[in-house]
Amino acid sequence: MTTKLETLPSPEKKSTGAGKPTNRKPRVRESRGTLAFSRAQRGKSLMKHGILIVAGALMIYPLLWMVVSSLRPNEMIFREPGLWLNSLEMSNYTSGWSALTHPFGHYMLNSAIVVIGSILGNLVSCSMAAYAFARLQFTGKKLFFGIMLLTIMLPFHVVIVPQYILFSQIGWVNTFWPLLVPKLLATDAFFVFLMVQFIRGIPRELDEAARIDGAGHPRIFLRVILPLMVPALATTTIFTFIWTWNDFFGALIYLTDPDMFTVPVALRAFVDSQSATSWGSLFAMSIVSLLPVFLVFLFGQRFLIKGIATTGIK
C-alpha cells in the first residue's frame, strides 16, 4: 500500500508542473499526430466526450439554475426549469441583503474574521508542528506522530460536548474564540500531515548547509524551510478558507447571537424565518455566500487538486 500511494505526485515533484495544471501527456500528442486514427477510436473518443458533457451538464445544472433563478421574479422559481432569462431582476439581491437583523455584509464580515484567523492559526501552528515531525529527532516522536495521524480521523462529535462545556465556562460562547483557538493549537492535524509530507521532500542538504553556517533551528525553519514550503502553505490556506467559510456545525453551536452569526448560520436563520414565499432572495444570498468559495476555486484550483491528490483527503 505504501509504495502505491507514495508514488502519487509528491510535493518535491510539484515544481515542474506547478504552473500548468494541464500537464498534457505525450500520449495525447502521439494520437493527434497519427492521423490514421481508426474510426472506432474516433467513435470511442466521441462517445467519451458525449458521456462527459452530459454528466457534467447534469452536475452543474442545479447551480446554474440557482444563479438564474435568483435573477427572476420569485414566482418563476416554481414554474421555470429552464435557464432562459427574460429580464434581470435584482430585487432578490437587495431584499435578501437586508432580510435579517443585520445586512448580509455583516455576516460576511464575521465569516471573514473567522476565516482569516483560522488561516493564520493553521499556518503558524501546523507548520511549527510539521517542522518538528519532519526534521527533528526527539523522545516520543513515533508515538506523537501516530497520535497525530489518528486525530485526523477522530470524529469531531466526540469532543464537542466537553469542548462546549469548557468554552462556555470560560465565557466564550458567542465569541469567535471557540472557532479560532483550536486552529491556533494545530488541531487540524490534516494540515500538519500535509506539511510533514512536503518538508520531507525538501533536500536535507539545505538544512545542513545552513547549520554549518551556524544557523539554529528557528533560523533554519524560518529562513530555509518556510520559504520552500510555500506551495504547502498555499494549499493549507485555500482548504482552510473553504472549510471554515462553509463550517456550519461549529458556528451553530457556539454562535447563537445574531450579532455574531457567520454566513452559514445566517443563511440557516434566513431559511427558518421565511416561508416558501421568498426563495428568490434566499437563493440570492446563497449565491452571495458561495461566491467567495467559487473565486477561491477559480484561482486556487491547482493547489486544491494537488492537495487532495497528494494527501487524499477531501
Binding site: 508514488t7 501552528s125 477522530l154 468559495v293
Partner: protein, 314 residues
Amino acid sequence: MSAISELSSFTRRKGKVTAEEKKANKRDNKAAYISLLPWLVGLVAITIGPMLMSLYLSFTDYNLLQPPEWTGLDNFTRMLSDARLHNSLRVTFTYVFIGVPLQLAVALLIALVLDKGLRGLPFYRSVFYLPSLLGGSVAVAILWKQIFGTTGLVNQVLAMFGIQGPGWISDPSTALGSIILLHVWTFGAPMIIFLAGLRQIPAMYYEAAKVDGASTLQQFWRITMPMLSPIIFFNLVLQIIGSFQSFTQAFIVSGGNGGPSDSTMFFTLYLYQKGFGQFDMGYASAMAWVLLLIIGVFTAINFIASKYWVFYDD
C-alpha cells in the same frame, strides 16, 4: 504518502531505523518540543482532555446547570430502549452504506473516462470537482431543499414529461434518498484521487496485456483494479469515516428536525438535539462515544478486509 498508508507502514516499519534517522541521530528535544508546543497544548486541551471528559460524562446525568451526577451505565441502557436512536442508526447506516459506494463508483467511472489523455481534461475535471467544494455548504443544502421540493426543479422537469413527481423531501420514503444523492453529487474529491492513482499505473502493463491479447475489460479487472485497490481502500476508509459524521445537509434539508417522521434523523443530528437542544449532555456524550466506537469498528473491519482485496505492489 497518505495518512492511512503512513499509519499502517508505521506499524510495519517498527524497529527498523531509516537512513533519515541514522543521519540525524542526535536528539533535539528542546527545539522539537518548543516547535510542537501549540500542537501539544491542543492535543491535551482540545482533543484528549475533552475525550476523557466526555467519556466521564457518558456515565453521568448532566444538564450544564447542576454538576454532573454519576449514573453508571444508565445512559447506555437508555440507548438500548431508545427507538429514535435505533432509527437514527438505521438512517445513518443507510446513508453511509449506500451513499459511499455509490459516490466512489461514480468517481471511479468518471476518472476512468477522463484518464486516457482526453482533450479538455482540465475543464471537465473542474466541472466535476466544483460540487465537492460547495456540497458541504448551507447554500447548496438550501438549493437541494428547493430542487427536491414538491414544486421544485426535479418535479418541474418531470412535469414536462407529464409525470407528477412526489414531494421528494416531504415524503419519508424518498427524503433520505435525496440527501444520498447530494452526497453522490460531491464525488469530485475522490475522483481527483482516483485520477492521480490512475496516472501512476505504468503504461507498459497495459502494453504487455495488449500484446497478449487481453480485452479492455480484462485489462480493467487484471491491471487497473489491483493497481488502484490501495487508493480505493483509502477513499473507502476516509469516506466512511466522514459520512458517519454528516450533519449539515440533513439539518438544513429537514429544517433541523430530521423529518419527515425522522427519516433523515442522522445519528449526529439526534446527538445535536440531545446535547444542544435538550442539554442532555451525559446522553449526548454517551452517543458520541458510541459513534466513535462504530466508526472505529468499521475502520478496523475495513483494514482487516483490505488484506483480502487490496493489492500491495511491494
